[in-house]
């Protein structure tokens, strides 16, 4: 059946039969129906893009850690390094943490803050992802 491809005689005959043509203004009609394709603008990536994009995560994580450290939830006593934090790190932030401790002594405030921070964290993630994938 390879001779189908080699059939120059029939091909020559058939090609002499003109194709059907659309109306004379066909091209104009098509061109009227199209809009210019915008040339894509190459977005310049910030040099420390990865660092900039990770800042919200780091900030949120820091807040959560501070809240957890300064709270009196019992299981934190078993976290390794708590002594180090208490003796060195916490001394620096003692005034701030004291005020936090006072504030967070109320469970209502602690849980509200945790929920608020979590919600904020999720909101930031949502914003970042939707911006990244809608481009």
């Amino acid at each position: 059946m390879n001779d189908v491809i080699k059939d120059d005689f029939l091909a020559g005959l058939i090609k002499k039969v003109p194709l059907e043509s659309p109306s004379d203004d066909f091209v104009d009609k098509v061109m009227a129906g199209i809009e210019t394709i915008p040339v894509p603008v190459v977005e310049k990536q910030p040099y420390f893009h990865w660092m900039r994009s990770s800042l919200p995560y780091l900030g949120a994580a820091m807040i959560v850690v501070l809240i957890l450290i300064s709270s009196d939830i019992p299981y934190l006593n078993f976290i390794g390094g708590k002594v180090y934090f208490s003796s060195f790190f916490l001394k620096i932030f003692q005034p701030f943490l004291n005020s936090m401790k006072t504030l967070l002594s109320s469970r209502f405030i602690t849980y509200s803050l945790l929920i608020g921070v979590s919600a904020g964290f999720l909101f930031i993630i949502d914003k970042l992802f939707s911006r990244r994938f809608s481009a």
């Binding site: 059946m1 001779d3 189908v4 491809i5 059939d7 005689f9 029939l10 091909a11 005959l13 058939i14 090609k15 002499k16 039969v17 194709l19 059907e20 043509s21 659309p22 109306s23 066909f26 091209v27 009609k29 098509v30 061109m31 129906g33 199209i34 809009e35 210019t36 394709i37 915008p38 040339v39």
Partner: protein, 188 residues
């Protein structure tokens, strides 16, 4: 009019020169329109579908990966659009097992056809082509006018390559048979 390679115009369009698309439309309009017409059998519908296909191709041009020829991609768009319009599968698959390929000799037919002049050949061929179904005419259009390969026609129509081959073989035989028959009638 002498046209450049399709990629020349595609690059221009993608670089913001939409007017370059007019050349692509002008270059392919007859074949695109013919495909739509073969499927739909109505000039107004065919023109509308052909226009829509060109507009759709334009807006999808950025996603055209150039793995196939632009024309193949375009013909597939118009073919699918026309098929969707008719809401029926025009080309039915012929199982190879059920198909009987007749033995015939092209050489026995060709001398007779060669004897008549070109105009007469054209008249005979036109008559023979009118005896073909729209589906067969579509395959002829794609194969002979569009210079599409068996694989490209398979890609456009969704038929298997072997099926396209069988159909083209059958069409070719039918054309020769009809032309020979018409010539015999003229002789008598």
């Amino acid at each position: 009019m002498k046209y450049q390679d399709d990629n020349f115009y595609i690059e221009k369009v993608l670089n913001g020169d939409s007017s370059a698309y007019a050349a692509l439309v002008a270059k392919h309009k007859n074949l695109v329109f013919s495909i739509a017409l073969k499927v739909l059998n109505n000039r107004e519908d065919a023109e509308e579908i052909a226009q829509d296909a060109f507009v759709k191709a334009f807006h999808s041009l950025r996603s055209f990966e150039r793995k196939s020829k632009f024309s193949t991609w375009l013909y597939r768009i118009v073919y699918n659009a026309a098929i969707s319009r008719t809401r029926k599968r025009v080309l039915e698959t012929i199982p190879m097992d059920n198909y009987v390929i007749h033995n015939y000799s092209e050489e026995s037919l060709r001398p007779g056809v060669d004897e008549v002049d070109a105009n007469e050949q054209q008249v005979l061929l036109n008559k023979a082509m009118k005896n073909l179904s729209d589906e067969d005419n579509l395959l002829i259009t794609l194969f002979y006018h569009g210079n599409n390969s068996i694989e490209e026609i398979s890609s456009i129509t969704g038929l298997s390559a072997s099926n396209v081959k069988v159909k083209l073989h059958r069409i070719r035989k039918k054309l020769y048979d009809d032309i020979s028959m018409m010539m015999a009638e003229r002789m008598n």
